[in-house]
Structures are given as structure tokens and as C-alpha cells.
Amino acid sequence: MTDIWMITAAVLAVLIVVTLIRLYYGPTAPDRVVALDAINTLTVAAMIVLGVAYNEIAFIDVAIVYALLSFVGTLYIAKYIGGEL
């Protein structure tokens, strides 16, 4: 059963690396913020899956911290792009 979770995490890592293409080619700043948001969600999913693969319950706490906090940077960038800061 452990191999299934590891393979899932490997596929998620491949998706993260593929998303970096949009970070490189994105014509404007909002396109790059979309790539940031996608990588954020994929990172939380990879952390949960890896926590199950290592069989360590305490590792899920890191995923909760990431899910709660990672959109603060997105909000700041959005406030600057919208000209409200």
C-alpha cells in the first residue's frame, strides 16, 4: 500500500515542475499569480499524501499550516496589482 501513496506524490511533483512553464512564459503578472496558486494547492496535496506514506500523524500539521497561511501572499500581490495598496 505504501507504493501507491509514493507514486501519487511523484505524479504531483511532476505536475509542480510542469506548472513552472507558465511561470516562465506568462506574459503578465496575473498569469504568474495563477501559477503560484496552482503550486500552492498541489503542495498541500503532496504534503498530506507524503504524511500518510511515511505513517507519521504529526506531519499533517504542516499541511494545515500551509493551507491556512499560503494565500496571504496571494492577497498582497492582488492588492498591489489592483492598485489598492
Binding site: 506531519f59 500539521d61 497561511l69 496571504v72 492577497l75
Partner: protein
């Protein structure tokens, strides 16, 4: 300037959960991953979320800068006083004078594998709490001063 209504409501709804989770990380610092610095950084990011959703004037009207200065000073004082009390009780500086005493944070650790008892470890949870309060004040006030510099610019 205020952000839109949805972002403000989301920030106000999410802030108590970040606060509770940060103090959970601080208080369980001797049992699970985390500790004073990590929990303080999480709570400070919660305050930063409030700063982005509201304007500078409405933030400083509700939360003056003195609150954060006082919390930083309070954390440092709690840390050093806890270390100095040990000298009066006949142990060394930073000596663990609360462990195995039976009172606050004074239970004896059970032998063998167990899920963990919060009421152990002596002065280490108190030191974690002091560091958490200090980091919370320091990191929030950095961003608040930078925002005040922007307001004078325009």
C-alpha cells in the same frame, strides 16, 4: 484602502482559527513539531492577513502600535524573569525549577510509549509561551511600520 467585501469577511472569519491553531503549536511545543518561534510566526501571519484586508487607518484605530510593542516587551520580561527565579531557589541560571514538582507543568513523565501528557516538562512550556508572544509582537510591528511609511508617501 479596504479590499472587497468578500475578502474582508473571509479574513475576519479566518482570523480566530489561525489564532487558536498558532497557540496550539506554541503550547504543544514539547510534544509535537513546532515551538515558540514557529507558533509566533503563524500568529503574526494571521495579523498580517488582517492588515491586508482593511485600510491602515481602521487597523490603527482598533489595534494601536503600542499593543504590539507591549507584547514584545512582555515576552522578553517573562523569559528573563523565569530564568532569574531559578537563582533564588538554589539552582543554576535557566535551571528547570518546576519539573517533577507536582504543580503547574509538574507531572512526572510516564514510562513507556504513551500519547503524551501536556502537563509535564517544567519551565519549557513557559519559555515557549514567552518566545511566542515576543515573536508575534516583533514580526507584526515590522510590517505595520512599513505600511505607515507608504501612507506618508501618497
Amino acid at each position: 484602502m479596504n479590499m472587497s467585501n468578500i475578502v474582508r469577511t473571509g479574513a475576519v472569519l479566518l482570523f480566530p482559527f489561525i489564532l487558536v491553531y498558532g497557540f496550539y503549536i506554541v503550547l504543544h511545543g514539547h510534544l509535537t513539531p513546532g515551538g515558540g518561534f514557529q507558533g509566533g510566526a503563524v500568529i503574526a501571519t494571521g495579523f498580517v492577513l488582517l492588515f491586508v484586508a482593511h485600510s491602515y487607518e481602521s487597523i490603527t484605530k482598533r489595534l494601536p502600535m503600542n499593543y504590539f510593542k507591549n507584547s514584545e516587551t512582555l515576552g522578553l520580561l517573562l523569559f528573563i524573569i523565569t530564568a532569574l527565579i531559578a537563582l533564588t531557589l538554589g539552582v543554576t541560571f535557566f535551571g528547570n525549577w518546576l519539573v517533577n514538582s507536582g504543580g503547574l507543568f509538574g507531572d512526572v513523565v510516564a514510562y513507556g510509549p504513551n500519547p503524551g501528557n501536556l502537563n509535564t516538562a517544567g519551565i519549557i512550556p513557559i519559555m515557549n509561551l514567552a518566545v511566542g508572544i515576543e515573536v508575534l509582537g516583533a514580526m507584526s510591528i515590522i510590517l505595520l511600520y512599513m505600511l505607515s511609511g507608504i501612507k506618508e508617501d501618497i
